[in-house]
């Protein structure tokens, strides 16, 4: 078994009196494909925000590649190699698609000492998600699906070692889901990127994940092989009611 890339211990987050996350433990191994599921409001996005530094966790700690991330800002974590896509796409609306990808190339890859032709790299990335033809258009002209692809491409542009895809497939058609799944699979298998996928679409999660983690009401209630997890009584109860 390969070593851990991400170790979360005792993670807690409250919003006033509301406990969003309590005592969450998680270990993700290098190169793993992890599925994170849970009903709406179970704290999945809060969890991601705490990992990425968008929110500060109140308790516990996050370690990534042996480094403690607590207190680091979001951009510092991105530079260390954690990239994310947002649940609702958040493109830079006044910049073209190519320029959107330019940002992580300039601010992440170059600060790590990466070199190479940025313009070419932008086009390669756009081509990977099938948007090369629209490189010089603004994101406002894109469909929802295309925006999600742009979102993923921008996360990949930062050349992460851990990619967190926050509901990258919601609202997509069967074929489009397969496209994105194939994209993520390639990224994982060919480039060795560790991926945490947060998703409601069970078909996608079951197909993709090597391991499944279930969050309910801010607590982790299950962690194991996907086929076993979905048969677990408390997981079924959380989704369908007992």
């Amino acid at each position: 078994m390969s070593e851990a890339i991400l170790t979360v211990s005792g993670l807690g987050k409250r919003f006033g009196g509301f406990v969003a996350l309590a005592d969450v433990e998680l270990e993700v191994r290098k190169g793993e494909r992890l599925g994170l599921i849970g009903p709406n409001g179970s704290g999945k996005s809060t969890f991601v925000n705490c990992l990425c530094g968008t929110l500060r966790n109140d308790a516990g700690s996050v370690r990534f590649n042996g480094r403690v991330l607590d207190g680091l800002k979001a951009h510092e974590r991105t530079r260390l190699g954690i990239a994310r896509s947002f649940q609702l796409p958040r493109p830079f609306t006044t910049l073209t698609l190519a320029e959107n990808l330019r940002i992580p190339l300039l601010y992440v890859v170059q600060t790590r000492g990466g070199t190479g032709d940025i313009d070419k790299r932008c086009l390669t990335l756009l081509d990977m998600v099938g948007l090369a033809g629209k490189a010089h258009q603004l994101p406002t002209d894109l469909t929802q699906i295309e925006m999600r692809k742009l979102e993923l491409a921008r996360a990949m542009a930062a050349e992460p070692s851990l990619l967190i895809a926050d509901e990258a497939m919601a609202g997509l058609s069967h074929q489009e889901i397969d496209d994105i799944l194939a994209l993520l699979m390639r990224l994982n298998e060919q480039q060795g990127v560790t991926i945490i996928m947060i998703e409601h679409i069970m078909r996608a999660v079951m197909h993709f994940s090597q391991r499944l983690v279930v969050l309910v009401a801010g607590r982790k209630i299950a962690d194991g092989l996907p086929a076993d997890i979905v048969r677990q009584d408390d997981v079924v109860a959380a989704y369908l009611g007992s």
Binding site: T54, K73, T140
Partner: protein
């Protein structure tokens, strides 16, 4: 065009402007031109924060007047200091105020940031009004020399030249930023700060840099003011019209590029100067109001919006 080539071109334009003003051979041209140039610097400085990063600053008067009052203070402390040194000093003072303001207020977005900067202007004005060393509410007199020590040109021409030089620097810097990594970083802050952070952009550091640069240019624009007006009091130094004009000019010209504030300042500034002479000086704010309404309807992206290539249309 490379930055050095652009600076050279700007300097060429500046020489032509000075030559043309000399040809007209009327001191008033320099008086009026100085104000227009001052507004080019102010609106270019404002646009670095307001246009590039999208933080609307209503506190122009505070940064501008602090530059002016630095000169008043220096004038008393170190008589005979060359004006360019005073301008550099005024720029530093206002730049530091910008840095401090940024640190305190940049967690506020949109309207709230605007209100905070407006409040800053009131606070600084109150401080200056109660500081008798720089004249307090009575105001301060600064005697303008007839001529300069080195070139022996008319002092108002000297002021005009200094402001012309400062305009070249401000516009050159604004354009250099626009095409750089920094400019892209500023644009992401304007569009979406969360996504910017997720893409590795250190948003707080960049915002502080923008407030400091923006404030610094405004301070430098204000530093020669005491020599221009020869009598400076808080009410005129902190006049709201500086804030209003400085916001209106980039909006009319277009905020997305360095050229917008320049066009806006030349157009509106010249119009105000002409109206002051031909009709009445009270008219200038009315002109701003009417033009703003007109441009919001006719050119929501400013004058440069009419000519900008339509991106994103067609395949």
């Amino acid at each position: 065009m490379r930055n050095s080539a652009f600076f050279a071109a700007l300097a060429g334009v500046a020489i032509l402007v000075f030559g043309a003003a000399k040809l007209i051979d009327n001191a008033y041209v320099f008086f009026a031109g100085y104000v227009v140039l001052q507004y080019i610097v102010l609106s270019t400085g404002w646009n670095i924060l307001g246009g590039y990063t999208g933080y609307v600053n209503f506190g122009t008067a505070a940064f501008f007047a602090m530059g002016a009052y630095s000169t008043v203070a220096l004038h008393k402390l170190v008589p005979g200091l060359p004006l360019p040194v005073m301008m550099a000093f005024g720029g530093c003072v206002s730049g530091l105020i910008g840095l401090g303001t940024g640190y305190l207020t940049l967690r506020l977005r949109g309207t709230f940031f605007g209100i905070a900067t407006l409040a800053l202007s009131v606070v600084v004005q109150t401080l200056i009004t109660n500081w008798s060393f720089v004249g307090g509410s009575r105001g301060a007199y600064v005697v303008r020399p007839d001529t300069t020590a080195f070139f022996a040109i008319d002092y108002i021409e000297y002021l005009f030249l200094l402001m012309l030089g400062l305009s070249v620097i401000a516009v050159g810097v604004a354009r250099a930023i626009e095409k750089s990594k920094l400019g892209y970083g500023f644009a992401t802050i304007r569009d979406d700060e969360l996504a910017a952070e997720a893409s590795g952009v250190p948003t707080l550091r960049l915002k502080l840099l923008a407030t400091a640069l923006s404030g610094g240019f405004m301070g430098m624009a204000g530093a020669p003011l005491p020599y221009y007006v020869t009598y400076l009091d808080p009410a005129s130094g902190f006049s709201l019209s500086y804030a209003v004009n400085t916001i209106a000019m980039p909006l009319i010209g277009g905020t997305s590029s360095w050229l917008g504030p320049v066009i806006g300042a030349v157009l509106l500034g010249t119009l105000q100067q002409v109206a002051t002479v031909t009709i009445s000086s009270a008219l200038s704010l009315l002109i701003v109001g009417v033009m703003l309404v007109g441009f919001v309807i006719l050119a929501p992206k400013g004058i440069i919006g009419w000519f900008a290539p339509k991106r994103g249309k067609g395949a």
